[in-house]
């Protein structure tokens, strides 16, 4: 947990990830307004815009997740310390989760204000459930992909390239689950099937990340 504190401390002091992600999300909503030529959206379109934006904003966070460690010898320092290597995975994953939550605290209200046509109040509890599950998926895959690509040559390019196909099921689940919640007119309910899919996917890739992370940190 000391590691997590270090992560958050660095982030608060340097402010390198979260403000960029949040700003990117809000700007993307504006771009969508012009690209789609719509003042308000609902249903499938709303779910799609929200999730694509959140996805690409998380790419920014994922790209930067291990960069400081790679550039400044953080990996070596960590290997010398008598700590279980999974602690690094846990710390980075939790840090990314916190960044994503911070991102959504800004992005979702911005989305509701700027683009969403139905009022978001009713949808909020359901949407929160979907956000949590989708975030866990992004974190599981994002942490692993970040660790994979940080010490390669084209890291900024490879990170999203690797992460996006792996995150397609998360996008499918999240968009399909939030679409009835954001529908114009009558509200759909929360679909257990998509939540289950998201949950299972998170579990599977969480386990895989846990099993394989050691191989990425050793040197």
């Amino acid at each position: 947990m000391a590691l997590l504190r270090k992560e958050l401390l660095v982030e608060v002091r340097t402010l390198e990830s979260v403000p960029g992600m949040a700003l990117f999300a809000v700007t993307t909503f504006v771009v969508f307004h012009f690209a789609l030529n719509r003042s308000s959206v609902g249903g499938d379109l709303a779910a799609g815009i929200l999730w694509v934006t959140l996805l690409f904003a998380s790419m920014l966070g994922i790209n930067r997740l291990f960069v400081a460690d790679a550039d400044q010898g953080g990996f070596d320092a960590f290997l010398l310390a008598p700590v279980d290597r999974t602690a690094m995975l846990a710390a980075k994953a939790l840090a990314l989760l916190i960044y994503l939550v911070a991102l959504e605290l800004v992005a979702v209200p911005a989305f509701a204000l700027l683009l969403l046509e139905p009022s978001i109040g009713n949808a909020l509890p359901g949407l929160l459930a979907v956000l949590v599950l989708a975030d866990l998926g992004i974190v599981a895959i994002g942490t692993m992909v970040a660790a994979l690509t940080v010490r390669t040559r084209a890291r900024d390019l490879l990170g999203p390239l690797l992460a996006l196909p792996l995150l397609v099921p998360v996008v499918i689940g999240a968009a399909r689950a939030s679409s009835p919640l954001l529908a114009l007119g009558s509200h759909g309910g929360l679909s257990a099937r998509w939540l289950l899919t998201l949950g299972l996917y998170d579990l599977l890739f969480g386990l895989i990340a846990y099993a394989l992370f050691d191989f990425l940190v050793e040197d």
Binding site: R153, P165, I172, F215
Partner: protein, 260 residues
């Protein structure tokens, strides 16, 4: 031996396809591309998963030969994947009128898997240290191998209706078509195995050549063969630029320096 079997199987398969299997009632002659397209898809997907399993073997044992096998399996599957997509598009255009449809979950799943594995080689060749390259590539192969079935399930869930398919199970096919399909599947699987075997053999030969060359350059006391499979394999990959090849030469010299 394997090559002869492959040749024989392919010849038999083609003969069956053109002379034995009956014409499909709906699609006519175009349907015969199914005997090429579906085996390619099946073998390609199995190859991807096999690449993941071989990568697990590498991570557990540290023996570089497993990593070479994993790389070759994924590399060949990727080529078969391209062939699948092309033959599938031809079939789609002929029978549905479109080169690509989003409705069919199988197509979409396969495309996503293909895009994922297309990043395998860029990832691999962006890492310079050979041992780290093998390790990271294996982690990727395992993750992607687990992803393949999950992806098919997820995309299938996402489509709201299931299109009727010719190939649900061989029990749907009349026996003559089923036989032709199975022979075609066997032929494509043998082709895959042959290509993999050839590629692995080529890599082994190249690494032995480099070991000999190094031993000649650096003197008879040099420890041969240590770590060579790694450097050679890296350099032997398709699409590697010339600069990578020279980098490979210098880094194998470093590895042998460490091992010797």
């Amino acid at each position: 031996m394997l090559a002869f079997c492959t040749l024989a199987a392919m010849a038999v398969a083609l003969a069956l396809v053109f002379f034995y299997a009956p014409l499909d009632a709906e699609q006519g002659f175009l349907q015969k591309i199914f005997y090429v397209h579906v085996p390619l898809a099946i073998v390609s997907l199995c190859g991807f998963v096999a690449g993941g399993l071989l990568a697990i073997a590498y991570l557990r044992s540290g023996d570089a030969r497993w990593d070479a096998r994993s790389y070759v399996a994924i590399h060949t599957s990727l080529i078969f994947g391209v062939a699948t997509l092309i033959t599938g598009s031809i079939w789609a255009k002929g029978s549905w009128g479109h080169w690509w449809v989003w409705d069919e979950p199988t197509l979409v799943s396969f495309l996503i898997v293909f895009l994922l594995y297309a990043t395998y080689q860029p990832l691999r060749f962006a890492i310079e240290d050979p041992e780290r390259q093998s390790r990271y590539a294996s982690v990727f192969a395992v993750t992607a191998g687990a992803f393949v079935p999950m992806n098919f399930i997820a995309v299938r869930l996402a489509s709201s209706y299931v299109h009727p398919r010719v190939l649900g199970s061989t029990s749907n096919l009349p026996p003559s078509m089923a036989l032709t399909f199975l022979v075609a599947l066997l032929a494509v699987a043998l082709l895959y195995a042959t290509l993999c075997a050839y590629e692995l053999q080529a890599k082994r030969a190249r690494s032995q050549l480099r070991a000999l060359r190094r031993a000649m350059e650096l003197g008879p006391s040099m420890h041969e063969g240590a770590g060579d499979a790694l450097g050679a394999r890296r350099e032997a990959g398709a699409g590697a630029a010339g600069s990578l090849a020279s980098a490979g030469l210098t880094s194998t010299a470093t590895i042998s320096g460490r091992a010797g």
